[in-house]
């Protein structure tokens, strides 16, 4: 038969029958599943809080051997349990197993009373407060800071403003140059009247943020993904993983209005790390003042933070000890893929080990 399709009536019927079998099996799979999917597997304890922001310390199977604590600063736009999603997909677990002493900032869920929190609050008050708590608790001048995605942008700001308090800086999938050719989010943001948006909405609703992220790849994320779900309907474990990821993707906090306004205007619209003039409160941020060792980890297939957006840090920072890890995967795969479990915690641990004495 000539043509691009080689589909017979039998193969069509078989495909339909297979779909039916999967759907039927899915009823049993879903019936036997627990009422909710669990996530965030590693024990942790609250050690400090300020407002809705909580600083947690993770507890591994054994006591940490690292002398300098590692503080993780995650993005505001999703929940931080992505770094500790499940037992076999946990960056945190991998770091703890290697002896790191891991802390994480949980930003919480802002409500309308948080609408006027700004970048100074998030960076100086919350990250700064957590860093000072750890310096005090561990009797150290400086700690190790790991910033992820937008939390990496925050970490860069903090470290540039307080280089004496950051011993080693690690950034993961962190945007630095927001105006690379392949940055869809930045392109969409460029002509939005952010003042009007924030003044109208107050906080930026999570649903609006999620919709925007889905629109980056609308056919893959809203149609193909669910067609593909049929394949795993008879696999309870795979369905649990799927639902866990689904939970994380849509478990998004609203964005505090003022912080969103400042972040969008300074970074998405004006690209101020590159053009200069980024400000936190009344202080200017110069990445040239980042003189501590830097490990910059980015994902080669990142559709949210293109590699070039992260790699720009090399040309802007002032560190003489700058290292890059190019990870073969995407923005999410860098935490949860099998490859990530092997590569990322080991690289971080080895890199810190040489610099944390």
């Amino acid at each position: 038969m000539n043509g691009p399709l080689n589909i017979t009536a039998e193969s069509l019927a078989e495909e339909a029958a297979k779909l039916q079998r999967k759907l039927a099996a899915g009823i049993g799979t879903l019936r036997d599943m627990d009422a909710g999917v669990t996530f965030g597997v590693t024990p942790r304890e609250e050690v400090w809080r300020d407002g809705k922001m909580v600083l947690y310390r993770f507890r591994g199977e054994r006591a940490p051997t690292a002398k300098i604590p590692l503080l993780i600063s995650y993005a505001l736009v999703n929940r931080p349990y992505m770094v500790d999603l499940q037992v076999d997909r946990s960056l945190v677990k991998g770091l703890l197993e290697r002896g790191e002493d891991v802390y994480i900032i949980d930003w919480g869920y802002p409500d309308r009373s948080d609408r006027f929190l700004n970048l100074e609050d998030y960076i100086e008050r919350f990250i700064g407060g957590a860093v000072d708590y750890l310096r005090n608790a561990h009797a150290l001048e400086a700690i190790n800071l790991l910033g992820i995605c937008q939390g990496g942008t925050f970490a860069l700001c903090y470290a540039a403003l307080h280089p004496g308090k950051v011993k080693n800086l690690i950034t993961m999938v962190t945007p630095v140059d927001f105006h690379t050719q392949d940055n869809m989010l930045s392109n969409w943001n460029r002509e939005i009247d952010v003042d009007l948006l924030v003044d109208t909405l107050g906080n930026v609703p999570a649903d609006m943020m999620n919709f925007t992220y889905l629109m980056l790849k609308p056919w893959r994320l809203f149609a193909q993904k669910y067609v593909g779900m049929v394949d795993i309907l008879d696999d309870r474990r795979a369905m649990e993983d799927f639902l866990r990821m689904e939970k994380w993707i849509f478990d998004s906090p609203d964005q505090a209005g003022e912080a969103f306004r400042e972040f969008s205007k300074q970074f998405f619209q004006e690209n101020r790390f590159v053009t200069g003039g980024a400000k936190v409160g009344d202080r200017e941020v110069h990445l040239g003042l980042l003189d501590m060792p830097i490990l910059n980890i980015y994902a080669e297939q990142d559709h949210l933070v293109p590699p070039d957006a992260s790699r720009a840090l090399h040309g802007l920072c002032g560190s003489e000890d700058y290292t890059e890890l190019s990870f073969k995967g995407g923005h999410i795969g860098i935490y949860v893929s099998g490859r990530a479990q092997k590569e990322v915690p080991q690289t971080i641990h080895d890199w810190l080990g040489k610099r944390s004495r």
Binding site: P4, I27, F116, G164, N187, G276, D350
Partner: protein, 366 residues
Amino acid sequence: MDASNDFAALARRYWGMWGDAMRDPASPSRAGAGMQGMRDALDAWTRQVTGQAAQAGFGNLMEHFNRQSGDWFAQMQQVAAQFVGRDHQAADVANAWRNAFGSGGNPFQELLQGMRGPGLEGVAQWNAAAAPYLQGMRSEAAAALSRPAFGFTREHQERLQALGQAQLRWQRANEAYNALMAKVAQDAFSQFESKLAEREEPGRQIGSVRALFDLWVDAAEDAWAKAALSPDYRHVFGELVNAQMQLRAAAQAIGEQTTNQMGLPGRTELDGAHRKIAELERQLRRMQRSEVAPPPTAAKPASRPASKPASKPASKPVAKTAAKPAARKADAKPAARKAAAKPAKNVAARKPATPVKAAKPAARKR
């Protein structure tokens, strides 16, 4: 009756309809029955599953699955069925897919329609909710909306005029956005045809509906990425969002006026209070920082001993100080400091990370 068996019995009937359609795919009535058969089967399945699984959000997932994937897959199945056992070309398949959306149909718009779910206050959804307020405005001419207001109710008139103007702006923006999306859809169909043409040679043919659907997704995403990264999209999307926000703001102003008349606090009042609280907190922290900082909140007792916190400064005190020389700050203009970054070394997974020397700021070079 066991739920799985119950579903199977229902599904058998529906798949039977589908089978009839497969035997005569060219018949529109049979094809329609087949499509309906699949939808009914998926509906039955969704009801079965959501009736059992009560976990939060699970019903939504099934809804999405049914509305998005079920429909798309059924449609693609229908297209594929037309070419069973007969010679055809890439253009025939692409056209059949195009025709599946009817005259002027746009798969992107259908996808976005399907994206709307419970709790998603999308642009179109918000407008649907606001329709009763806006309906009266649509017949107003733009000129009437710009006439000066006067008299006792002039403020109310102005608020209504602002709402009407915002609505007209939003309609224009929405039309421009839809026109752009129609172009994207045409590009997606063209790309689909090109990708199909690549699969015409024996050995590269598509052997399943799923593979055909995946090919369409590739084509649609390629077309979308090209458009979404363009300055044109930036402009049209920016205007759509800005118009939507202006419309919301105008509606909110009227809503707030109404609630104020009933003695209820509005957004402005609450924002004012929250702004004051945020400012007071900042002032308090500045005062605290200017004095001796109090010790941080005590940690809860650890459930088991942690690593012993150092009781004295680390043996190798860090030499850095937080304050940087002012001259260095002034000179460090990152953007101007360096030429493009050198290609950085990648760290091999199994090798220890190797440092990449970065150029120094100009100030330090001197």
